[in-house]
């Protein structure tokens, strides 16, 4: 596997862990805040560095150069691939902005050390592809919020029940899958616990109550950072997507779709801003899950794009609400507060991020929602309609909340409630990303499409795809891949790769230049079968014969 030039991933994991240790010794909240900003900032630099470095390598996945973790665990634990590459800086950015916008009113309640530890766990989770590693890290990630709930003297039962069930089902489910063999197409019984675990972590109705409870009882920052990175969807991608049969994915998609509409409706009737935000987030997170589980190239591209757009827009939306809470305390939505005159920047940003989340034109979510609707209509026409209904209701809910918090009356204050410079920095950063991604969406969409195709190829390798047309499409992508991406990993160029397993592999070159596609990552068992030149194994007993593409063969150095 190709290596990054600098061990960005390990730095992104270790830096916040180090910060957590340092801040855990106590100290004044103001000093801890200051230090935390530095650690969060450096983590963002490392995560962005990993993304940038990975982008220069033109490969599907890469690992750190001097891997400390591989020495400890015996195999590569931290890997960056096209799925996780943009998610790492996104998560790090959310952590940094959350810390940065923590005003003094919140600094005494918000634990910076636990926050840094959570960031470290999240970075490790997003950089981990090993299933048991992901399971361990997801389990570990459930602890900091629980400790905070306990420290605040709040009821832990709802959260603990759900998370306990999640962890247990995840472990049992994956143990059952492993027992049957990772590359097999699994039965309903084998998949059920794993699917149930992902449904719980993603908050799919009726297993979502832990989420509202967390927003109710934890600090807003902790709840926001536990839910917004959508690690439930990440678990689905790493644990379920590669091996689940189509029916399993479609079942998750249907349940997620119902959740999306249900949560949108629930957002309309909430009396309190945090709960409203929770349902809004749940509705959008479910849309991500819908797209992921549709498992079509367009749907998956849309879902991965929505993942980023929702992370940015609802992350910003939540931060704005949190900033307002810092000034006013918990916000009810029963009346009108009229804060627009006092906090015009936050008001504008609240509206911008809220509308971006529902795919308003010109924002980062627009194309993503279009892709999702298009794909959903392809798979089930009713699903496309449901996505649109959910987006419409969410749009009404967002503007309703905006009107109730920022307009309707005049709020007279004795002090300025206007935004602070660091809040304006956060607002401008996210605004630039939301509008930049909306006005110039091609690079982002293209990158997500590439990631989607690779993920589908992984599914094809395990034989989980039964749709013949999709198989043909993937083999088409397979052919075209080398022509347009010039992937140095797969062109047999030893200067770029340095991986003796792949360099000049006669099996690959002999397959008519089928680089970058199904064969290149195929397990040894497939190599052993020694299919004839031009044949691509999709898993099980199915073999599709792909004739060597003349153009590709000519372009490929042999």
């Amino acid at each position: 596997m190709i290596e990054l030039h600098i061990p960005w991933l390990e730095l992104a994991v270790l830096l916040p862990a180090l910060g957590a240790l340092l801040l855990g010794r106590g100290g004044r909240p103001e000093v801890n805040w200051y230090r935390s900003v530095w650690f969060n900032g450096l983590t963002l630099v490392c995560a962005t560095g990993a993304w940038w470095d990975f982008g220069t390598l033109h490969t599907w996945e890469a690992h750190d150069r001097w891997s400390v973790f591989s020495t400890v665990f015996g195999h590569e634990m931290l890997v960056i691939d096209e799925l996780s590459a943009p998610l790492l800086p996104l998560a790090a950015l959310l952590y940094l902005l959350t810390t940065l916008t923590t005003l003094r009113t919140k600094q005494r309640r918000f634990s910076f050390s636990w926050n840094l530890l959570s960031e470290s766990i999240l970075m490790a989770t997003l950089a981990c592809k090993d299933p048991w590693g992901v399971i361990a890290l997801l389990t570990l990630a459930t602890l900091p919020p629980a400790i905070e709930l306990r420290a605040r003297g709040r009821s832990l039962r709802v959260y603990a029940l759900h998370m306990g069930l999640f962890v247990a089902l995840m472990i049992i489910g994956y143990a059952m899958v492993e027992r049957a063999g990772r590359d097999a197409v699994h039965s309903a019984w084998a998949m059920a616990p794993l699917i149930a675990a992902v449904l719980i972590r993603s908050g799919v109705v009726p297993l979502h109550c832990w989420m509202t409870d967390l927003f109710e009882n934890a600090t807003f920052g902790t709840a926001l950072l536990f839910v917004t990175p959508m690690t439930g969807a990440y678990a689905a991608m790493r644990l379920i997507m590669p091996i689940a049969p189509d029916w399993a994915l479609q079942s998750i998609a249907v349940l997620s779709l119902l959740t999306s509409v249900y949560a949108a409706g629930m957002a309309m009737v909430q009396h309190e801003a945090r709960r409203f935000f929770c349902y809004l987030l749940l509705s959008h997170a479910s849309l991500v899950l819908v797209g992921l589980e549709l498992a079509t190239p367009i749907g998956l591209t849309g879902a991965l794009s929505i993942w980023l757009s929702v992370g940015l827009s609802l992350g910003g939306f939540g931060l704005t609400l949190r900033c307002m809470e810092s000034r006013t305390g918990r916000l009810t939505l029963d009346g009108f507060h009229g804060y627009a005159e006092q906090a015009p920047v936050l008001a504008s940003f609240f509206l911008l991020t809220g509308l971006a989340s529902v795919g308003f034109p010109g924002t980062i979510g627009f194309i993503a929602i279009e892709l999702m609707v298009e794909s959903a209509l392809d798979v089930f026409p009713v699903a496309g309609l449901a996505v649109i209904i959910a987006a419409a209701i969410n749009g009404i809910a967002v503007v309703n909340a905006f009107f109730r918090i920022f307009t309707g009356t005049r709020h007279i204050t004795t002090i300025s409630l206007g935004s602070r410079p660091r809040e304006r920095f956060a607002v401008l950063t996210l605004t630039l990303l939301i509008l930049g991604g909306g006005l110039y969406p091609q690079p982002g969409i293209h990158s997500r499409h590439h990631a989607a195709m690779k993920l589908l190829e992984e599914r094809a390798q395990s034989g989980a795809i039964t749709d013949e047309s999709l198989k043909r499409e993937l083999s088409g992508e397979h052919d075209g891949d080398t022509e347009d991406d010039g992937d140095p990993e797969h062109d047999g160029d030893p200067e770029h790769d340095g991986d003796p397993e792949h360099d000049g592999d006669p099996g690959q070159d002999g397959a008519g230049g089928q680089e970058g596609g199904l064969e290149q990552e195929v397990a040894p068992g497939i190599e052993d079968n020694a299919e004839p030149s031009g044949a691509v194994r999709l898993g099980g007993d199915e073999v599709i014969s792909v004739p060597p593409t003349t153009g590709v063969s000519e372009d490929t150095p042999n």
Binding site: C209, T212, G329, R330, G338, V399, F403, G418
Partner: protein, 462 residues
């Protein structure tokens, strides 16, 4: 001579002028450094003049060269080759888009000049012009769009700016509630439009509706859709148009929209925004034409709206509401004309009506002054008595009067049939969730219900 570079330059100027205005006005406002009143007014004038001159020049060139259809392709915005997914930014200048763009610039120029005086030293001056610039941009994009997605983008911008301007006087509850109502109806219309757009994409694989409806310039296009497909898409387009143009049964939002400042009422609900639904039907006229049932429904919807609106307009007690219903009457007739296939008449009707209604609405605040001028001129009081035959009526006229006075009970009907059951259902779910989490947590799970502000909120600390 090759006129293409001229067309391209002028076309770009038409689109870029409002775009630049929107950016220049909104970015400083976002970082709390808004521009001054004079600068805003001048920038708006420059933008309108550049856009107007460019669009008129394009019209002149089109007449001179005999071109009926000028595409301006700004390239592919998003493309996924393997999936054959393309999202083009394409504008077209034709017999429908050019008059609409010119009308937009003329009326926006008039209104901005009026508003710069009318709203002088108003606290929301900057906000008004920022939203106004979004509106102008949305109208131009929607008018000139050659792909469904581009049209949808403009459509959404118009909707958002409309709703926020209805809630312009944001320190009062009533405008805000009305703004929300307008937004909710627009979202329904948007949803219908989006389904129609995606369905069209799905059925034909094309987003460019000039390809979708044949290469023949408007209004002579034909659709490749089968009759049942055209009916399905046509119904969705009718719902979208009904929401945007306040046709029955969505008419209730139009008088509510009059809560906004007079300049925005004039340009939105008297002139441009209210005609956008009709514009949509004109743009997709080949699809409306392709199914007889859709045409019949279009005519029925138009005439029904006209009948309702003319009844309501006669019994309203304030001038802006009366004018809004009078405006709706004409919009209803325009929609009926589209249903009958009289596209050019509908287009001329829109232009004439928009100009007249803008003038009337802008004069509305000085109506009493006008009355006094008239009374001074005739040397006596104007008659306030209604004719005898209007006062004596049978019970039917009383019922009709009551129905018209209550604006057809359309708002109340929609509320009772759709909104209330929807909200009641989710409130019930919310109660169930509360019980469930109470059970799980072994006590009261929602402290937020009784929690007010934290004691250490910023104001308390101060």
């Amino acid at each position: 001579m090759n006129w293409d570079p001229w067309f391209l330059s002028l076309g770009l100027a038409t689109v870029i002028a409002p775009t630049v205005l929107t950016i220049v006005l909104s970015l400083p406002a976002l970082i709390s450094r808004p521009l001054g009143e004079g600068t805003i007014a001048r920038l708006t004038q420059v933008s309108v003049v550049v856009g107007l001159v460019s669009s008129i020049a394009i019209l002149a060139l089109m007449l001179f060269t005999g071109s009926r259809d000028v595409p301006i392709d700004l390239g592919t915005w998003v493309h996924l080759e393997e999936q054959d997914f393309h999202f083009s930014v394409l504008f077209r200048f034709d017999r429908l888009s050019v008059p609409f763009a010119i009308l937009t610039f003329v009326l926006c120029g008039t209104i901005s000049a009026f508003a710069s005086k009318y709203l002088h030293r108003e606290p929301g001056y900057v906000r008004f012009f920022v939203l106004f610039s979004f509106f102008q941009l949305g109208m131009i994009i929607a008018s000139l769009a050659a792909t469904i997605e581009t049209l949808f983008a403009g459509w959404e911008l118009v909707g958002l700016s409309s709703a926020l301007l209805v809630a312009f006087f944001q320190e009062r509850v009533s405008p805000v509630r009305n703004g929300l109502r307008v937004w909710a109806v627009y979202r329904v219309a948007d949803a219908a439009f989006l389904v129609a757009a995606v369905a069209l994409h799905h059925m034909t694989g094309k987003g460019d509706f000039f390809k979708l409806m044949g290469e023949t310039p408007w209004p002579d296009g034909t659709t490749a859709l089968a009759s049942n497909q055209a009916f399905f898409v046509g119904i969705l387009l009718l719902i979208a148009a009904a929401g945007k143009s306040a046709l029955v049964p969505f008419s209730g939002w139009l008088p509510r929209a009059m809560e906004g400042p007079t300049p925005s009422s004039a340009v939105f609900y008297g002139a441009l925004s209210v005609h956008l639904g009709a514009f949509l039907l004109l743009r997709f006229s080949p699809i409306i034409e392709a199914a007889v049932a859709t045409r019949v429904l279009t005519v029925a919807l138009g005439l029904g709206t006209a009948l309702f609106a003319t009844s309501a307009a006669r019994v309203q007690t304030d001038i802006k509401t009366a004018l809004s219903f009078a405006s709706l009457t004409q919009v209803g007739l325009i929609v009926a004309e589209i249903g009958f296939g009289l596209y050019y008449i509908a287009l001329i009707h829109i232009i004439g009506h928009a100009c007249l209604r803008t003038l009337q609405l802008l004069r509305a605040p000085s109506l009493l002054r006008d009355y006094h001028s008239l009374e001074n001129a005739i040397g006596g009081q104007l008659s306030t008595e209604r004719p005898e035959e209007e006062r004596t009526g049978v019970w039917l006229s009383h019922v009709w009067y009551r129905w018209a006075f209550d604006r057809g009970l359309l708002d109340a009907g929609l509320q009772r049939v759709f909104v209330d059951p929807f909200l009641s259902m989710f409130r019930l779910f919310d109660r169930w969730e509360r019980k469930w989490t109470d059970t799980l947590s072994g006590g009261e799970s929602r402290e937020s219900d009784r929690v007010s502000a934290h004691i250490d909120s910023l104001e308390d600390l101060a």
